[in-house]
Amino acid sequence: MKRTVPVLFILPSLLVLLAVALYPASFGIWAGFHQWNWAIGQADHWVFIGFGNYVQLLGDRAFWNAIEVTLLFTLLAVVLELAVGLGIALLLWNNVQGSWFFRSAVVFPLMVSDIVAAVIFSTLLDPSLGTINYFLGTLHLPQPNWVGNTHLVILTLSLVDTWWQTGNIILILLAGLTSIPQDRMDMASIDGASGWKMLWYITLPSLKPFILVALVFRTIDALRVFALAWAITKGGPQRASEVAQLYIFNLGIGQYFNMGYASAAATLFALLVGLISGIYLMMMRRAPHE
């Protein structure tokens, strides 16, 4: 009787996930081995071409551009968010007056949907009508073309992402900071360690596992960026912000309906995300806990 419990309790979830996740994913991977281009009337039949799509992908500059753009965005966003998040978490930990309000303020953007974040910033960042450049102008600072400059656009999107998602990192690091045993801090303090020394030799090493967790979560999320690019830049200018999910979306259901090829691209990208996550998981297993 008790033996059947785990099966009974898991079965409904398992069935739902089989139907909405495993079956579609397998279907998609299988579709990637076919020529299946709805735009040329192949919606109801496909032609098996083995690794044909993958061979084509290897030489597809737009695909590798999308991967490169995604990796650059992820790197910038995660580094910025970690730096800003660590700074804010340490300040919040100082327990100044009104900490609860400050924490709410920096976590609040997490409640904002991706499209609304994109809509807000696409207007704020407009080169001629945007408020941000207006204020920079009144301070006599340069007014860059945030979304129209191919060299700047990825940094712009990472900055928006920093505004939007740093709250995640702050919450994880705050949990880490409160878990540091107080006597360890007191001992160091009695030994006469200065604030910076305590930070470097005690706080940061104790935080290491938490920093790693924050890094993993944000990296995996940032690799899947879609709405910011879709709504703020549409991938432009000249594909400079065409992130992987946007490129694949347009190849498939967004624009070209080249479903077989898009499925192969999605599979290859998922493998890449899996590879990066796998490396992280190995790093985490190697890092000693606490």
């Binding site: 979830s13 007056q97 609040f108 809509v119």
Partner: protein
Amino acid sequence: MNDARVVPRWELHPKSQATTRGLVGKYASFVTLSIVSAVFLAPVIWMALTALKTQREALALPPVWIFEPQWANFIRAWESNDFGRSFLITTSVSIFSVILTMALSIPAGYVLARYRRTWLSMFEVGMLVIRMLPEILFMLPLYSIFQMTGLFDTQLGIVLAFQIFNLPYSSWLIRQFVAEVPVELDEAALLDGASVWQVLWHVIIPTIRPGIVAATILSFIAVWTNLLLPLALTYNATPMVATTIANFKGYGSFDWPIMAAAAIISLAPQFLFFLFAQKYIVKGLTLGAVKG
């Protein structure tokens, strides 16, 4: 302190020195945090102000600070672009989606926390893998599968699609909360002759209520804040707020204050949860990540 080294003069009164430095530090932290908070809040406040302006005031540079609030913008936003309908549909989708998520993930999370089986670990790893995969891997095939099965552009279809990410996340969260409940509590109830269902219902669920609230709210918010799923799987029959807001921007001359008003309305559910249940949101977001 009686060693021979030369003691700098300011170190002679370490205590007073430390408190002054501490005070300065606190003051500096306070000022920095105030500025940082202002930066984090400004974009949304800016949008809320824009929602109350006329189109002309909204586009004016330098920005207009004193204006007559146009409350009617919210009514116009509700009535234009199918936005009002999409709000109601999103409400309905989020409620049904969350009910399904919770009904499935509470028993699943319980079993994952309490039983050790190889196939259970495999299931758990599988869920984590699903959660970290890019959405597009599922959306391309689901688009054609939903077209074939008639689920495309229906509430049922989008409710099911949201399970891909919400179900693993919620099960994982529930699992963490159940793991914190001492197993002796279950055993005592089982010894008294309770069935596992009764243990789950009368012992576990009341004990992990904060966890259930957290998982419910976070699953709910996830439905409101995702663009790609509704963009891929719905169209005119089942508009969702994420796509109708995007549509405000789509065509030629768009009315910026009206779009801002729609965006503010679409933030209302999350904002209310954040106002009244922030404790649970913070707990869920933290525990969901940290116990890994």
